[in-house]
Symmetry: C2
Subunit: 247 residues, 2 copies
DNA sequence: CTGACTTAGTGTATTTACCACACTAATATA
DNA sequence: TATATTAGTGTGGTAAATACACTAAGTCAG
């Protein structure tokens, strides 16, 4: 449930040796002009839309992979932290703030970008299905939401990144409260169950699910009820972060 | 148990906008000469020594943090992958190859290094206690092994990195086979239990431990026995990677 | 207004995982 | 030959996971 904070370092006695050999070994790549790799931040943004787990992608308008879809991202400014850069990207792409955000993995193989050496730190973000509406259909030509179970062909190795993201999401689902960040403040138990079912991609037993969730004490009954469609009305719950219960 | 592969990208329609503003926003840091962050790879190397979980550190010989201990690391060469860089570091520091290696986290706050902006990708390595002997005491003035439970004062925020490493190790202990990478090919059940006890820093029940491990079918009886000290001889087991059993 | 339809909400019995706990046998050493 | 040391083994109790089916509150169409 927690991601530790940033920071660290490296340069030490051994480092100078390395640095000296670094340029010597660099028998070019594409660009001898780039002695050092560039660093970008990419953000995998997922949300629930229409009872489906979807990811936000951007259509590339130039070489390489022109016309293909890609995960949004951009360079890290010299004076901002990686997380700040990820938040800025989010803000620029969707206009949303205060979403769940965690660092996923750093991808840095040489040759992953045909233009130059780029190391990218990938962040993973979850939007709740309500605030989601805000933008998303704005400059609809370039930006689109896609089901993670039915992806278009993707630029670079972004398909691999999305698979990794999905694995991580699934893994964290049952020992963290990550699922709540996909729902609005109030929700019914059935809606919560649906989040789990969509992400795990399998049916769950209703009674066992409710029993397990409620036994953790992590939910708070709002007293309100939700009436919708042709059903019986359902209780609305709220996530209680105070209750540091284990799922 | 698996770490996905490298690779990805970022530059897309939104990227250009970002890049333009990047330099504008960069109201210096220390170095306007560095328009872009440098990238290093640091390696947290742990091993079991004398019934203790220890980490390899290097003594700094210059500013900043002169005389303090730090995690070894170095710049990423322009033509090598992050993992390759981490392996190279390992090789340089300890002369060991083919160890367990996984990417841990990327730390990149501006100001984490007083000299310039450095983003570091931290890898986590485990050496088995046998091959360990190889070097380690070579240029003993600069390099040393320290108990993770009794650390010296560390350069930069390396203490935080080590805490994170230990947490990750503990977390993975019971749903992966990571523990085996700390042992030689053959080992007794008692030795395996000791690995768990040292890492989790608590005593485990012998019978329950054996029952659980053996029931997974992940161990293979070698037929051999180990006689040592003033004990009864013990069976030697071997890790069987084929048996894709869950711990 | 009535009948058909949809979903909320509830309990029990079975199986499986987890945990606490103590003695005997093989070997080395003094 | 006596002493010290560790390997190896089983059982019962408790908590968690799973499989499974019906009733009641509401909506909607006719």
């Amino acid at each position: 449930m927690e991601q530790t904070e940033e920071q660290s370092e490296s340069t030490n006695s051994a480092l100078k040796r390395v640095q000296e050999t670094a340029e010597a070994k660099a028998h070019t790549y594409d660009a001898s002009k780039y002695e050092r790799p560039s660093v970008t931040v990419d953000v995998v943004m997922m949300s629930l839309r229409k009872r489906d787990l979807q990811v936000l992608l951007i259509k590339r308008r130039s070489w390489p992979y022109e016309g293909m879809w890609a995960i949004p991202g951009g360079f890290v400014n010299i004076d901002e932290s990686l997380e700040t850069a990820a938040k800025r990207e989010l803000q620029e792409e969707t206009g949303v703030q205060d979403v769940y955000l965690e660092q996923l993995y750093t991808f840095g193989d040489p040759g992953r970008d045909p233009r130059t050496r780029v190391i990218t730190v990938v962040y993973f973000a979850l939007l709740d299905s309500e605030r989601l509406q805000v933008r998303a259909a704005d400059d609809a030509a370039d930006v689109g939401w896609f089901s993670v179970y039915d992806l278009p062909s993707l630029a670079f190795d972004h398909e691999k990144i999305l698979h990794y993201s999905l694995e991580r999401l699934r893994g964290k689902l049952d020992y963290t409260t990550i699922a709540f960040s996909l729902l609005p403040e109030q929700f019914t138990l059935r809606e919560l169950q649906r989040v789990y079912e969509i992400i795990l991609h399998k049916r769950l037993d209703k009674r066992n699910f409710r029993k397990k969730i409620l036994s953790t004490g992590i939910l708070e009954d709002t007293g309100a009820k939700k009436m919708e469609g042709t059903h019986r009305p359902a209780r609305l719950y709220r996530f209680n972060p105070e209750a540091e219960a284990k799922l």
